[in-house]
């Protein structure tokens, strides 16, 4: 199979370039990550992140034939050749397919992704009704792979100020949680032309999410809550 890989080694002083690679691999039943690991076995200078190799850890997000996806759950047989593999767009490249995730994590941290509850700790767990728990479905499953946020043009232009789809989905996950007491402050934190309203609803995030989540819907719910609070 034919591959085109984005290569960049900052210490070489050379500009990034696309490297053509031929690999003898049977695509049936294999994922893109298998091919990349086989290429790395032949040329150990190729750098990439991967860990669980089954779509749970979110380490091996990359841009494959123009779409952000997880290499480990992308079947080789589905891909058109030459398979063009690039690092995630919109984040600084450290080397080859490895990007600096800090701008992404910074926005994630900014939404305080933890439960805030000042009430005295109960003897048992803080219980939820099945209905309250159901509100978190579609919001808690995010693995923070950054496929969605780095496919969002608003994040490319405003990585410093726009929270991005992954961060906003997590913000909604805690706003919607019946055990959290900080919804008002969370909405205050988001109500800003840059932090929230850079989202124009183009739904690249929905298209990119390898877990099938819908950040645009969560963003819409945050907007509805802000409107409800105001009118």
């Amino acid at each position: 199979m034919r591959f085109r890989l984005y290569r960049y080694a900052p210490e070489s002083g050379e500009k990034p370039f696309m490297q053509d690679v031929e690999l003898d691999i049977e695509p049936a039943g294999r994922m893109l990550l298998d091919a990349l690991i086989a290429i790395k076995a032949k040329d150990e200078t190729l750098s990439l992140r991967r860990s669980c190799r089954e779509g749970v850890c979110g380490s091996d997000a990359m841009n494959v034939n123009g779409r952000n996806r997880l290499a480990c759950i992308t079947p080789l047989s589905e891909l058109k050749q030459p398979i063009e593999v690039r690092p995630l767009p919109g984040l600084p490249v450290i080397r080859d397919l490895v990007v600096d995730m800090e701008p992404f994590y910074k926005q994630y941290r900014s939404v305080k992704p933890w439960l805030v509850n000042e009430a005295p700790e109960p003897e048992v767990e803080r219980l939820q009704s099945p209905e309250e728990r159901a509100l978190l479905d579609g919001a808690y499953e995010c693995i923070l792979c950054a496929c969605c946020t780095t496919s969002c043009p608003s994040f490319w232009w405003h990585a410093e100020t726009f929270v991005g789809p992954a961060g906003l989905l997590q913000a909604y996950r805690f706003i919607a949680d019946s055990r959290d007491e900080d919804a008002a402050a969370r909405l205050d934190n988001l109500e800003d032309p840059y932090r929230l309203y850079r989202c124009r609803g183009i739904m690249n995030c929905v298209d990119a999410c390898p877990k099938g989540l819908n950040p645009t819907e969560a963003i819409g719910r945050i907007k509805s809550l802000l409107v409800k609070r105001r009118v």
Binding site: W157, E191, R230
Partner: protein, 114 residues
């Protein structure tokens, strides 16, 4: 200094863009159908088509909605692509002037020869 965010604004603009979109979705087809169904042939015909007050008010409302809708959209565009504050403010003024001028011009045309 870190960039100060959290201005507690944005919801109003977003709501206004939604509301004006709704107004335009209703008004524009109605007005277009009414005009195209009996397209005036001459000056007197055009005068007659715009004679009822409700027609003029409807056109003015549509133009106002369009201007407000375009203002929010243009402001978003400029926030994305024009970073120097002085240039952005100047362009805001150009956009506001053009949109407000167009609405005033339409109003003047609609009520000029009553």
């Amino acid at each position: 200094m870190k960039r100060a965010l959290g201005s507690h604004t944005g919801t109003g603009s977003w709501l206004m863009q939604r509301a004006t979109a709704l107004a335009l979705a209703v008004l524009l087809p109605l007005l277009a159908i009414r005009l195209l169904a009996a397209l005036p042939a001459d000056y007197a015909g055009w005068r007659a088509a715009f004679a009822p007050t409700w027609v003029r008010v409807a056109w003015l409302l549509a133009a106002l909605s369009l201007a407000l809708h375009a203002w929010v959209g243009m402001r978003d565009l400029l926030m994305d692509y024009v970073q120097p504050m002085a240039a952005r403010l100047a362009l805001y003024l150009v956009v506001i002037g053009t949109l407000a001028g167009s609405v005033i011009w339409l109003m003047a045309s609609l009520w000029s020869a009553t």
